[in-house]
Symmetry: C2
Subunit: 298 residues, 2 copies
């Protein structure tokens, strides 16, 4: 490719920037980043790429534009790029939910312009360009979204792009995507936030210092619950239907657990605790996590 534009250069945007540069995927990489403090960081870090102040075609016509901002900013950005974009540019994004984004794109993007969504399963509880890493996508899944009007050609371009970045690629519909990730990602994050919130409520009422004793479990949740609030608000709002259903299933199971505990239902409890263990072995086997106890923390 000649020119790639990255819109939003935080954790994922700057990781892509580093990856595209390292793998020489584009001749020129342009960056549009509205946060002045992020721009300063990018300059200080001497990251590759050309920072542009205004969203226009001034410097070049882009082969690929990648949205790496919170999803709530897509609409306004679409209205801006509509002024200069043509069907020659392929657009993608790295957002974590897809059905709502699909609606926004259909409603606001200039007709004839192609946007094929991506979702690289990578991230961290820290934000900002200083935390980006070129290998954050390495060996991770990247989901490409196929809809009725999705062009095979564009799926191919993105397939090649993400494979060069280091990802494994899988194609699915926005509906299937949003269902799967409501359980594997959105619910876990919500649960982590909710656990930390409950601990805070408990602490206020009891005046006990809980954090001191957090090593027994709470600390692991606190890491997940430290993730970027704007990004997660957007995900919760965008995928609210599926997340609502996931919450209902979770509460139903939790109430059953509570009953088992109060009735000292040995058989039922042991069955659950043994059953859930198997998922861990499967995750390790599929290389979705490292096999070091406690993540090799000590």
């Amino acid at each position: 490719m000649n020119n790639i534009l990255i819109i939003g250069c935080g954790l994922l945007g700057s990781s892509l920037l580093r990856g595209i540069h390292k793998k020489k995927i584009a001749k020129k990489i342009f960056i549009y980043e509205k946060s002045k403090s992020n721009v300063l960081k990018i300059k200080k870090l001497r990251l590759p790429g050309i920072i542009i102040d205004k969203l226009d075609n001034g410097a070049a016509s882009y082969d690929l534009i990648i949205f790496c901002t919170p999803m709530s900013e897509y609409k306004n950005l679409i209205l801006k790029i509509n002024n200069f974009i043509s069907s020659k540019t392929l657009i993608t994004d790295v957002g974590s939910s897809k059905m709502q984004t699909s609606k926004i794109i259909k409603k606001f993007l200039k007709k004839g312009v192609h946007w094929t969504q991506s979702h690289p399963i990578a991230g961290s509880e820290v934000s900002g360009p200083e935390h980006g890493k070129e290998n954050i996508f390495q060996d991770r899944w990247c989901i490409l979204i196929k809809e009725k009007n999705t062009k095979k050609k564009n799926l191919n371009i993105l397939n090649n792009f993400w494979k060069k970045i280091g990802s494994k690629v899988m194609v699915m519909t926005p509906e299937k995507h949003d269902k799967i990730f409501s359980i594997t990602s959105h619910l876990p994050h919500l649960i982590a936030y909710n656990l930390v919130k409950s601990a805070q409520d408990f602490e206020k009422k009891q005046k006990y210092d809980l954090v001191k004793f957090s090593a027994g479990g709470l600390r692991d949740f606190s890491r997940i619950a430290a993730s970027n609030e704007i990004m997660w608000r957007d995900i919760f709002f965008n995928n609210s239907n599926n997340i609502s259903k996931a919450i209902d299933l979770f509460i139903k199971n939790l109430k059953a657990f509570k009953r088992d505990i109060n009735l000292k239902n040995n058989k039922s409890i042991l069955q659950k605790l043994v059953q859930t263990k198997k998922v861990r072995s499967k995750i390790i086997k599929l290389k979705q996590d490292i096999n070091k106890p406690d993540f090799g923390r000590s």
Copy 2:
């Protein structure tokens, strides 16, 4: 000390064994371990200590006995040690809940014999003597339990013992202990088990392969949900009152979260997500976790 007996030589028992040996806390360390496969592992690993086949005073009179078995085994073991124990031996344990253990001790331990409970805040999702580490207690809290009849002298002995092992020591009542750990440890584990269980239910119904995409959050819970099932059943049963209350608080908060998501209550959601982030910084500051994003997984 001259003689220490460790009953149960799994993850924590073998870690204590290693620590006591390294720090030269006792002249002789005895091990009672009923699992034949664990005994084989201990021999193969050439761990220090003398393995005894029968629980009696045969070899020595013990200065300290440390129970490192699941809590459901305490009662039977107490009935056995009652046959040879005297008031000269101090007993302690490493169990994760304290009120129920206190009842068992009062009911079954021979009168005049001293048992002062300990709870070192250390552990892992893996079990067995092969995973023990001498430094697992290093810089971690160890809670000593003070009840009406607890002797200052025994608290002092255990305070010295755990400090030599490397822990920081704090004294509290069984009631306070069980309340605090119902929130910082027992609820988080239950939640992790419940999340993995819910993902399994979802997977069965939808026939999607969730584990493949677990890197987005689920995998971190799966690690916690891989913890020893006997140990955790015992904790859930022993501390059922406090855990029930913690579940109720958790469900109440989760329902509020669901409402906020469905109503797109921006202010309330952002407030919660920002608020919970602060706990993470506090945990890092208090050195209850390392400051590497993603636990430095990559």
